[in-house]
Structures are given as C-alpha cells and as structure tokens.
C-alpha cells in the first residue's frame, strides 16, 4: 500500500509542478482555436525572434560542446596546478544569476566598459547586438557538456587509451576512435541540456540585447514583450513554440540513442 502512496505522491508532484503549467500554456494558446495562435507566431517580429533564438543556439551549442569536451579532458586526464580551480569555475554559470551575467557583460563591453570603449571606437558593437547575445548564451549554457562528460571519463579510466597508444594510435586517433565513442552518450546528453538552456535563456540575453523588436528580440524576450503588451495569445503561442522546441530536442536525443545501449 505504501508503494502506491509513494507513486501517487511522485506522480501528483510532477503533474502539479511540471505538467499543469505547460498544459495551461497549451490550453490558453489554442483557447480561441488554432488560427489566432498561428497568426500570432507568424508575424514578422515573431518569426525573427524564432530565427534569432535558433541562430544563437546554433552558435553556442557547437562551441560549448567542443569546449566542454576539451575542458572535461583537461580536468580528468591532466594534472596541472589550478585544475581544481578550473573545475570549480566551470560551475559558475550554474551558480550565478543570469541577470548578473548580463550586467557584467554590459560593464565589460558597454560604451563605458573596459573592452567596450576600444571596441566601439573601432566600429564593433557587442552590447545591444548579436555578439553580446552570443556571449551571454555561451556563458549560461557552458557547464552542461563538461558536467556530463567528466564523470564518464573518470569511470572509463585510461586503460583503453593506453592500450590504443601501444597499438600505434596517435593522440588524435585515440581520441577519435576510443575516447569519443566511449563518451558519446554523455556528450549527447550534455548537448541536449545545453540546447535547452540556450533556447530558454532569458535573463542574461535580455540585459545585453537591449530588447530591440525585430532585431535583438529572442523568442523568450518576445514572450515577455507580448505579455507586457497584453497580447496574451501571442505570448502563449510563442511559449508553445518554445515548449515544442524543447520537446523536439528531447525526442531527437531519444531517437538517436540505439536500443541496445540503454543501460
């Protein structure tokens, strides 16, 4: 009996905390039928916001994936002074509020900022433009690949890599043929989390973007703007798009994962 009690509790918790809010969004978006929602997400501004969000993710995710794998290799496979510091700093984006990240970027790259002054004098805009938003997105979505890959690298140990090297394999060949296949699921899961984070980012990007409609407005900012402008259907519909993107990412991952390796 107690078992059922626990199950009911777990399910109830999920429904109340996770599913109900998402369900309400879907309900509200399509309350007046499909077409109002469709029109709301196909306005030029909404489409631009959608494409901008995808673009940011397409830049941030590959960079953080490559960086994450290199970082994980450094942390696990190399002994150097300061490795503990590196390991701790990687988690900074998880601990730091995105809004603070946004402001720190403003302080660095803004008109009065340390780098910003020089950059603007030489004709580069970082803040209130694409580069700043890319930096913010990369910052907040940085730890996920590292965090997924590090424990797996620890678990597989160095024997396989050592064996490959005695068999004539160079460092790069060993990485490609031995290490990468061994960590591929960790990398994949890290990529999913990174993507989800990049798509959903609001705080940091909101601060550095300047929220210029049709220019630096991402999908999350678009939701907020629509809501503030009493365009409730627009806000709900754009939210649905964000939710669908998240679901698509998860489904893609599940499809990529072959059945035999679910352990």
């Amino acid at each position: 009996m107690r078992r059922y009690g626990l199950r009911t509790f777990a399910l109830g918790y999920l429904v109340v905390i996770l599913l109900a809010p998402v369900a309400v969004i879907f309900y509200r978006a399509f309350e007046h039928g499909f077409w109002p929602a469709w029109h709301a997400v196909t306005t030029p501004d909404a489409k631009h916001a959608f494409l901008l969000t995808i673009e940011l993710a397409l830049i941030a995710v590959p960079l953080n994936t490559v960086f994450g794998v290199i970082m994980a290799l450094l942390i696990v496979r190399h002994r150097f002074p300061g490795v503990g510091f590196v390991n701790a700093v990687v988690d900074l984006p998880l601990a730091l509020s995105p809004v603070v990240v946004g402001f720190s970027l403003l302080l660095l790259y803004g008109r009065q900022g340390w780098f910003g002054h020089w950059l603007i004098a030489h004709g580069y805009r970082v803040v209130f433009a694409m580069p700043g938003m890319v930096l913010a997105t990369i910052f907040v979505s940085l730890p996920f690949v590292v965090r997924e890959v590090v424990p797996v690298l620890r678990e597989i140990g160095t024997d396989q890599e050592a064996a490959a090297s005695t068999l004539g394999s160079s460092g790069w060949q060993t990485f490609r043929r031995i290490t990468l296949p061994a960590i591929r699921w960790a990398v994949g899961y890290g990529v999913v989390l990174t993507t989800a984070r990049a798509l959903g980012e609001f705080g940091a990007v909101s601060v550095v973007s300047g929220r210029i409609v049709g220019q630096t407005e991402t999908l999350t900012i678009h939701v907020q703007a629509a809501y503030e402008g009493f365009d409730l259907v627009g806000a709900y519909a754009a939210s649905v798009v964000l939710a669908l993107l998240a679901v698509a990412t998860l489904v893609l991952m599940t499809l990529l994962k072959p059945k035999e390796e679910t352990r």
């Binding site: 024997d159 396989q160 050592a162 064996a163 490959a164 090297s165 005695t166 068999l167 004539g168 394999s169 160079s170 060949q173 043929r177 031995i178 296949p181 061994a182």
Partner: protein
C-alpha cells in the same frame, strides 16, 4: 638484447616507485617481474612501454634507445590486468585495431584477424562484443590484439590477476605454449610466485623499487639472496633465527638428538599434500609440509607430541 632498462628512477610525488633499476631481458625469452604490490614491477613495465616517463634512466628496445619515444612508436604489445577491451568494438575489430591504424589493406586485416582468432581459440566469437565474453576470453582477445601488430616485445601486466584460479592455471599453460611457438620477447608482471615459476624461464624479484635478485626459478628457490626473496618465492618457517621451508621440516614420533618437541595442532589435507600445523614448546608456531604417504606412515593425530628437525635451514646476515 631484447629489452634493457638502465638506472631507471620514477617517483610519484614523495613515493619512489623505481629507484635506479637496471634490468636486461634477452631477445626471445620470457621473463617475470615478481614482487608484492608497490614493489615497482608494474611501473617498470609501463616505463618500458612508454606509458610512464622515467625521471631518470634509459630504455632500450632491440638496442634502440626509445626513452624519449611515445608508446605508439615503440612497437610493444601491452596486455592490461583488466583487459582494456574497446567496449564499443566487436572482438574482431578490437584485434584489428592496430592494423586499421596502420592502414593495412582490408583483405590482409581480415586474414590476419582470422588467424589470430584461431590462435587464441576465439574463432566463433569475432562478431561479439567484449561484454559478451568471459574474463578469460576477454584476456585472450587482448593478447591477440597486442600480437596483431607483431610487436618486438610483449608486456603483460598481471594478465591473469582478475581471473579465477582455474582459468588462471589454464591460461598460464597456454601462454607458455604460445611463447614457445612465437618466441616474442615477453615480460610478465605478477605477484604470484607460482605463476612466475611456472611460466618464466627467468625471474626478476623486486621489492620497494629495487631489484632483490634475478635468476631462474630453481636458482631463486634454492639459493635466495635475501630473506625477502626466500620468503617471497615460497612458504617459510622461522626457527631460531633461521628460515626453513615447510617441506624441509622433518617430523618424527621419537626424539633423536637434534630434534625439538612440538605439538600437532591441526592437520590439513590438501589432496596429495598434507599441512601439519605445530606449536613448539616455547609457543612458536611452525608448519610442516608432508606427503600423504608420510603422514599416514606417522599416523599423526591432533594434540599429539612429535619431534621436529629442520633438514635444511638458511641464515641471512642482517
């Protein structure tokens, strides 16, 4: 000379794993590095393979100085205690790995892999994954993988250490036969003196980063250079400052001049061998190794008083 390591020193932090070790291994021989854990035997093997960089000293393979070379340029085969199987590859792909890296033609690789699968008696298992093999099969696969690239030197790091006793014994015999056929210069690291004696024609005993003694199995057993070697290559009793092998303890029913009194505490039958555990008058324990026939002739019983005498004792200067 197949392998020569000269004055090799290796430290890990404060710990000195190897302290100026010099070892030579003749081409085509099978040598065992024997010692307790922490004696430096595995480190020495890894230094030879290039998996560890020595702090001082040189390594020569077939008279070529390889000290500065990475493992992939040394032409060694290495077998790890825990197999180091490439889990995401089939058995055949595991074995083919070194050849694939060397970009040999596909047909040649296929032929060679089939040959090696037969050699290690895994022909039906080429398409399986390592996870579907037993420990002994996995280690045979690892051996085939190491042999595939025709290494000038084969290095085995406690290769049977993770296997159960029966499989271990089988693989020892099999390895010895394999070596007799292939004649690849081989070094096997082990902490099991029986394994070293059964497999190797030459044994290097190591302790605390140094070499205690080198020699053939019989030489080490019969004329150990130190107390450490004597007690490591076989069981010993301590008798009035001397070391005595249990099979050199003579047990008699009647006293006979030089004999000492002892009480039979326990008799353990191990098939052909019988272990007689004794306590001397002063309370010191002692055990004698008798054959079954000897024991039956003496008609020993637990609690009985007998008279013991070392047939052969060794005293080391400290």
């Amino acid at each position: 000379m197949g392998i020569a390591a000269r004055n090799v020193t290796k430290r890990f932090g404060d710990f000195t794993a190897l302290d100026g070790v010099t070892v030579e291994v003749e081409t085509g021989s099978l040598t065992a590095l024997l010692g307790p854990s922490g004696s430096g035997k595995s480190t020495l093997l890894r230094v030879i393979a290039g998996l560890e960089r020595p702090d001082a000293g040189t390594v020569l393979l077939d008279d070529r100085d390889v000290t500065g070379l990475p493992p992939q340029e040394r032409g060694v085969g290495f077998v790890f205690q825990h197999y180091a199987a490439f889990k995401h590859m089939t058995v055949a792909d595991n074995i083919a790995f070194g050849l694939t890296i060397r970009k040999r033609p596909k047909s040649e690789i296929r032929e060679r892999v089939a040959e090696l699968l037969a050699l290690v008696q895994l022909s039906p298992f080429g398409d399986r994954y390592p996870a579907q093999l037993s420990g002994g099969q996995r280690q045979r696969m690892a051996l085939a993988r190491a042999l595939a690239v025709e290494p000038s030197v084969l290095l085995l790091d406690e290769p049977f250490g993770a296997l159960d006793a029966r499989v271990r014994k089988e693989l020892r015999v099999w390895l010895r036969r394999l070596h007799d056929q292939s004649k690849v210069t081989t070094v096997i690291v082990t902490h099991d003196q029986e394994e070293a004696m059964e497999v190797a024609e030459r044994i290097v005993v190591m302790n605390e980063g140094r070499i205690e003694q080198e020699g053939g199995p019989q030489e080490l057993y019969e004329s150990p250079a130190s107390e450490f070697v004597m007690s490591f290559v076989g069981p010993v009793n301590r008798l009035d400052g001397a070391l005595v092998r249990p099979h050199d303890v003579e047990v008699a029913i009647e006293p006979n001049g030089a004999t000492e009194e002892a009480m039979v505490e326990r008799i353990v039958h191990l098939g052909f061998e019988v272990r007689v555990e004794l306590v001397r008058a002063d309370g010191a324990p002692l055990w004698a190794q008798l054959t079954r026939d000897q024991e039956q002739e003496l008609e020993l019983a637990e609690g009985q008083i007998v008279y013991v005498r070392p047939a052969r004792a060794t005293v080391f200067d400290h």
